[in-house]
């Protein structure tokens, strides 16, 4: 059941996007998110979506995988979409009893849902194509200036590496515990919300206990392999910005400029 979660997973590959420098990827992701939120009319929204779908296809990862990562968020997208469609002032375009759909409400719900969807797509673009190790290494590099303020940048990055590494392991274990409790007659799927939350206690407790065991083992294994913090540590993979990265930067900034031009040429949608 939990194996289907693709959010935050890495899918090894050899595509143009896979090979980009992770630092560049992180920064470009932030720029892309900006363009998503800057797009103020339907044309720029569409251009943005088109560009993102192009990047998605460039990763050569099955589109289904991306859709799966959205399963979680779909509910939120629908919910906010619904809320926005009914709860806005403006000129009514549709009326049915107490339900009034306004012009602004309609635009609002489309924009909010599309932005959410694109947000997930963009972050999946990053995590699907970047191994957790290079991701954290890149973050470590990017936040290195913060070390001046006595922030332990290496420790932060190492914590992230380990957390990401253990997500699949813990999901698998949760699955096993759920099965084990079910086979003892635990009822995890019916009843009201309160009961369901309560019935998860017998799942969470063993999960916690075994996580402590794992943490102890892992600390031991790391010490055995001479881990002593970031000082004097080297890294096998050297990050280097290549021509691919320059192209990616040009494309994404081109998109940003294009969206800004469309925004200034055509009127913004009233939200």
């Amino acid at each position: 059941m939990l194996n289907n979660i693709t959010l935050g997973r890495f899918f090894p590959g050899n595509s143009f996007i896979h090979k980009l420098d992770p630092r560049v990827k992180i920064l470009l992701m932030i720029v892309l998110l900006f363009t998503v939120f800057l797009s103020a009319n339907y044309l720029s929204l569409f251009v943005n979506f088109f560009a993102i779908m192009l990047f998605v296809s460039l990763t050569k990862i099955n589109l289904k995988t991306y859709l799966k990562s959205m399963k979680f968020i779909l509910f939120i997208v629908l919910f906010t979409g619904m809320l926005n469609i009914f709860y806005a002032k403006g000129t009514a375009i549709f009326k049915l009893g107490v339900f009034v759909i306004t012009d602004e409400g309609f635009n609002n719900s489309i924009f909010v849902s599309m932005r959410l969807i694109m947000l997930i797509l963009v972050s999946s673009l990053l995590t699907f194509t970047t191994s957790p190790t290079s991701l954290t290494y890149a973050i470590e590099r990017l936040i290195r200036p913060l070390a001046k303020f006595k922030i332990k940048t290496h420790e932060l990055a190492m914590m992230m590496t380990i957390a990401l590494r253990f997500i699949p392991t813990l999901l698998e274990e949760t699955d096993k515990i759920i099965d084990a409790q079910k086979s003892r007659g635990a009822n995890l799927e019916t009843g009201n919300i309160l009961n369901r939350i309560k019935s998860f206690v017998p799942v969470l407790v063993p999960l916690f206990v075994s996580s402590f065991r794992r943490a102890y083992d892992l600390a031991l294994a790391m010490e055995c392999r001479c881990y002593k913090g970031g000082e004097g540590r080297t890294c096998m993979k050297i990050l280097r910005i290549g021509s691919n990265d320059i192209w990616a930067i040009l494309i994404v900034f081109g998109l940003l400029v294009f969206v800004l031009i469309i925004n200034s040429l055509f009127p913004a949608v009233r939200l």
Binding site: R165, R213, L220, A221, E223, R225, K228, T234
Partner: protein, 283 residues
């Protein structure tokens, strides 16, 4: 010849405040030679894991000393020399993997040692080839089988270029296939690359591959001998709650029932040979 690892009068208790705390290790003397394959057997709670953690300075003796290549493990300045010379592989393959990608995982040790990036790459490739996992270098670690994970853990140690690898029940969570993979890897490292192996195991078939077996009981070494000698003393094994390898048991029972077999078998092939010889003698 000087010993590689020297354990002298080692006593250890987990709680060092109270003087009357129970000693987990109770005066252990043991020498391990370079290139040797030593198996450690003993009942649950007899102190095997505690002993093995003294060999790479994860634990320090309460009394007595442990020397690795002549260096006392209490010498704090040499801590990382000792740990890169003597690596430890744990029981649970899932808990000792740090990175999500196989090659990053193997690189972890040399990275900690501050090795130059180019030679880390060489070491990682070499280590992965040694454990026969080179094709998997770009895969994710969580998608591997237990036996493969354990071989990656071994590769992670090999990349630190150790002289000795300690393994604490490395196969106990694996299926028979994974167990064979890991044991073959261990044997090959010992035979072909001269790496000293110290293996804790509950599987007598695995211990039969060792040069020597040490049996621990209540924090003391009660016996060190070649497997051939130890396994021939069935009563002795029983006394320390150790199981008997199937082939040994078979020959033993045949003897008890009056078959005139005079040899001891350590593995299936030897067992078959003994039986063949017997049948031939009948004709």
């Amino acid at each position: 010849m000087k010993n590689f690892i020297d354990i002298v009068d080692l006593k250890f208790s987990y709680n060092n405040e109270g003087n009357n705390a129970k000693n987990i290790l109770n005066g252990i003397n043991l020498n391990i030679k370079k290139g040797e394959f030593l198996a450690i057997l003993g009942a649950n709670g007899s102190g095997k894991s505690t002993l093995i953690k003294h060999l790479n300075a994860m634990l320090l003796p309460t009394k007595g000393n442990v020397f690795v290549n002549g260096i006392n493990t209490k010498d704090e300045g040499k801590l990382y020399d000792i740990r890169s010379t003597v690596g430890l592989v744990l029981q649970n393959p899932d808990n000792q993997i740090v990175a999500s990608i196989v090659e990053d995982e193997v690189a972890f040790g040399p990275e900690n040692l501050g090795v130059a990036p180019k030679s880390i790459r060489e070491r990682v490739d070499m280590a992965l080839k040694l454990v026969d996992m080179y094709e998997y270098r770009k895969s994710t670690t969580y998608s591997l089988s237990g036996g493969q994970k354990q071989r990656i853990a071994i590769a992670g140690i090999i990349a630190m270029q150790p002289e000795c690898i300690l393994l604490d029940e490395p196969t106990s969570m694996l299926d028979p296939e994974g167990r064979k993979e890991v044991l073959d890897t261990i044997k090959s490292l010992n035979k072909n690359y001269g790496i000293t192996i110290v293996l804790i195991t509950h599987y007598m078939e695995e211990a039969a591959n060792a040069d020597r077996i040490a049996i621990i009981n209540e924090g003391k070494i009660v016996r060190i001998d070649a497997p051939r000698i130890i396994f021939s003393e069935v009563a002795f094994l029983d006394k320390y709650q150790l199981s008997i390898p199937t082939v040994v048991e078979l020959i033993h029972k045949l003897k008890l029932n009056g078959l005139p077999l005079n040899n001891m078998a350590l593995d299936e092939r030897e067992c078959v040979n003994i039986l063949k010889k017997y049948f031939n003698s009948l004709e």
